[in-house]
Symmetry: C2
Subunit: 336 residues, 2 copies
């Protein structure tokens, strides 16, 4: 009987010790829960873009997902499968109708989505833009590449490759704002900093590999002293590379391309393309979600009711940067 009582006391004692520990740990847990940024389980953020299937978006989606994981919220990925303005508008309208916690939009066109974006903002749904802006919309911020600066970087790299001498051409998409800016940054910088590196032609590569190859061949024929070609968009790089291979001018004509498609990276690795410019796509996605999270949870600039204020609650523009990819660092840029 005495033994039983002793056992009984030990068991009760253990239980009480456990209760104390649980209480103690809960207290700590509570503190650390308050002192952290994390969302509620019903927070749902949506990324909306166009040409959803292309490789280019993978990194920004990864950034969006990484931020969501860090904050304990969920994300969704929607967009138009085609390069179709109306389809993206429709998808965005459907997303808005389901009242998500926030939407990050990459605009297929700088104007066409404004009405839908403004409708979301009016309904109290935070919207930020990434990669391609809609500058006249009511979206709270834009996160993407400063394309003018990317052109400046390309020009300085070209000067280094060519010794700042000779004639260079640009192959671009002259009707798209991003590409106009890249072209302008490049040509302004040549004029200001490298007067001996003359810009002899700006061609329309139509965002197409074969057209860019043809235009590159024409440029090399017309200007036998050509020392460089700057291709402002992703599909053309390999085309320009093929042209230079075909003309057997690898050592004479330096190509600078844009983005990090596998074909482009392969040509950087083999030395056919001298350099390509990588955009900070992971950062676009990651910080887009951070911005939306801060808006949704009213952690942004502490103005009373930022929704009805004209004070920008967030940084208005985040420049996600550019990296020059050459043979020496190309291995870091292959998709993992």
């Amino acid at each position: 009987m005495k033994k039983m009582l002793l056992l009984y006391v030990v068991v009760i004692g253990t239980l009480m010790a456990y209760l104390y520990m649980v209480y103690f740990r809960e207290d700590n847990g509570g503190l650390s829960e308050n002192a952290g940024l994390h969302g509620k389980t019903d927070e749902r953020y949506v990324m909306v873009n166009f040409l959803t299937g292309i490789d280019y978006w993978k990194n920004s989606l990864k950034g969006f997902e990484d931020a969501a994981e860090a904050l304990g919220v969920s994300v969704e990925y929607r967009g138009s499968t085609q390069y179709d303005v109306q389809e993206e508008v429709m998808v965005l309208e459907q997303v808005i109708a389901r009242s998500p916690s926030g939407i990050a939009v990459s605009a297929i066109n700088s104007e066409a989505l404004n009405a839908a974006i403004n409708k979301a903002v009016e309904a109290g749904i935070p919207v930020v833009m990434f990669d391609s802006d809609a500058p006249d919309s009511d979206a709270y911020s834009f996160l993407g590449t400063n394309n003018y600066n990317a052109g400046v970087t390309a020009a300085r790299e070209m000067a280094e490759l060519t010794g700042g001498q000779g004639e260079v051409g640009i192959i671009s998409l002259p009707n798209q704002l991003n590409h106009q800016e890249r072209t302008r940054g490049f040509s302004d910088t040549l004029a200001k900093e490298f007067p001996k590196l003359r810009l002899v032609g700006i061609e329309d590569g139509k965002g197409d590999q074969l057209v860019t190859e043809q235009k590159s061949l024409e440029l090399m024929e017309r200007y036998p002293g050509l020392t460089g070609i700057f291709v402002t968009e992703a599909n053309g790089g390999v085309g320009a590379g093929n042209a230079v291979l075909q003309a057997e001018k690898i050592d004479k004509v330096h190509i600078i391309s844009f983005d990090t498609d596998k074909g482009t990276l392969d040509m950087v690795k083999s030395g056919t393309i001298s350099a390509t410019l990588a955009q900070g796509t992971w950062n676009m996605g990651y910080w887009s979600l951070m911005h939306l999270f801060h808006l949704h949870n009213e952690l942004a600039e502490p103005m009373p009711d930022w929704r009805s204020s004209d004070v920008p609650p967030l940084p208005t523009y985040v420049d996600t940067g550019i990296t020059v990819v050459t043979e020496s660092n190309v291995d870091q840029f292959y998709a993992k």
Copy 2:
């Protein structure tokens, strides 16, 4: 004896149920702890600037503190009390010697702090710049106003105030980069968008209220058709306001000033100053700490070992925006 055994079974059963619950809750707790951004208690971030006593810094410090509170880390505020380059360098060196988790620096001078900043980065201490950049240093990002764009905004506001007609002057600090950019944004925009609003003079107000008052009086005398003055720095606004009061030209000459000192806000409220430009200072501090936290905890762009990589781990530039403050929204800008 049987009764005791029953009691014993009940107690053991309760204990096991408890153990199960604790395990279950720990599992949940573990998840929610993983799913949040929060620092360790020993994380300590330092903000370093100059003229530490002035009101201008209050909002960026508040942003820095708000982010630290959200993340559960601690902050410190250091800097030179005087407008003294050597003092800020010395303070920064002292801060580095104590190996903080990260440092946000506002540079008194775009060059003088480079060596100290680079030393910190080499030692593995993350550094970001806010408000005033050191563009040639190894700091990972810059968070501040786009001063050229602020000048553009001022020009458009001036055109609205004056009906886009007449003669305007600028009072600036012609030797400082920030003020050169504001001036350039203003004058470029007049030339491009408002050819009937002519820029007649750019004066040096020396960052001083009385000098700016004198220069404003001179401008109004020399150009009787003057319709506006853009003052690019904080101290001059009240000086220009006093000049216009003295000359009894309140209805003729519109003043646009910079920043939100109490004196400036009072003159906006009374209608002497037509508008002033508020910088996104809270956002500078808040997002500086976010950047440092991401660097210290290696949450930034997932490149293997970003410290030795040439890929920018963070967005390289964050434009914290500008708000036009007029009579209608001035009340939001008084310090709380």
